[in-house]
């Protein structure tokens, strides 16, 4: 790994340039135009980054509440109907002895979404209020949120597979519950929220004091 030692000592923005997010071509500011090489919209920084981040995040958090309150899966058999929420599904897995799988589901459906909410709120607040916090730490946190968010979809796919597979008529049938809708929405909107947050804003604060 070679560290490029040939920097200009400024950001592209300070040099009056804007980078195309896709092909990397540089444009003269004020850009707000389509990239001359690949045609993508070039603006230098993501438009209304923080505003969008908050908006998507709020929807994500709101959807996460019904996702946990309503059942995600309804099991119908001749002994009666049982419904599982996200948490009761995890507990059932743990009690049946599959501790490892229980942990995987718990991490994907509870730990990752909640950690993402907290990290995004923290990053956004740190940008609003110019907290004196290491850029490297925030950079790592941002990379993590972009990377882990998609893994929350595990529970949605579990429900889809079980509902398709367990169709044994009166003996045993599994149906998806309303909670899984809300959960999928929550995951999708927090993914949008994480991608709306422009990591370059973290570093833009460096030049102003500190």
């Amino acid at each position: 790994m070679a560290i490029a030692d040939n920097t200009l000592g400024v950001t592209a923005q300070q040099a009056g340039l804007a980078r195309c997010d896709y092909c990397g071509a540089l444009h003269r500011l004020p850009a707000a135009e389509d990239c001359r090489l690949c045609g993508a919209y070039v603006s230098g920084r993501k438009r209304n980054s923080l505003q969008r981040t908050w908006a998507f995040l709020i929807v994500g958090v709101m959807a996460y509440i019904p996702a946990n309150l309503y059942p995600i899966m309804i099991t119908k058999s001749f002994s009666g109907n049982t419904s599982d929420t996200i948490l009761s599904g995890v507990i059932a897995l743990a009690q049946s002895g599959s501790m490892f799988v229980a942990i995987v589901v718990f991490v994907a459906s509870v730990v990752i979404p909640v950690a993402k909410f907290v990290i995004i709120v923290g990053l956004a607040l740190s940008l609003h209020f110019r907290w004196n916090m290491s850029e490297h730490t925030r950079h790592v946190l941002h990379t993590i949120t972009e990377f882990i968010g998609r893994w929350s979809m595990i529970d949605v796919f579990v429900v889809a597979v079980l509902a398709a597979l367990i169709q044994l008529g009166a003996i045993l049938t599994i149906e998806p519950g309303a909670g899984i809708n809300a959960f999928a929405l929550s995951v999708v909107f927090t993914m949008f929220s994480a991608t709306s947050l422009d990591p370059r804003l973290i570093w833009d604060g460096v030049e102003h004091g500190e």
């Binding site: 040939n6 920097t7 090489l37 995987v104 950079h139 796919f157 398709a164």
Partner: protein
Amino acid sequence: MKTNSSRKVSFDDLIACASCDWLHYRTIIERGSRASCARCGHELYTRKPFSIDRTLAASIAGVVFLLLSLFLPFLSLARGGISSSISVLDAVGALWFSDMRWLGLMSLGMIAFIPMMRLCLLVWVMFRLRYRLGIIPSMRTAMRWAERLEPWAMAEIFMVGVVVSLVKISDLATLTVGPAFWALLGLIITTSFISIFYCKDSVWQLLTTHSA
């Protein structure tokens, strides 16, 4: 090295970090190595050996695996004389027919449509680059979409979901995995090969310098 300040610097000699916007001169790096941002450490560009050939090969293999995984039986279950067998498309259909239309469509997109579109775009662009069929503007649009779609292709997450489901119902019925299960595993392996072989900046350099 183009660090001579008296010389007029062209845009093409500069590269800005995608993650922190720090500006660097492009330099020639060794084959197989990678240049990182001096400020935040994010990758600037790489020079991977035989990137186009290998990405093309892995993408074609990916298309084959994806087709196999979609249409072949995926899991079968037997209990008390009743058996059922599902394909990946049945799993999506289960959501659709339980009146969760949009969730079914979204899963169809994430498991089938988006990965397929991304792979086909990669195959097309890499094929044209590999056999020097000329650069046309729509190749850039294609690469842009291939990159934009990447986080939404969730075959590997679906696979973990399947394994969790297997464990959940292992005491309810006898389960057997079908050929599509292994095809999906193949798809996950080829997808990770694509991310190892694909040399983003080099491809964009090829796509942009030969025209303009």
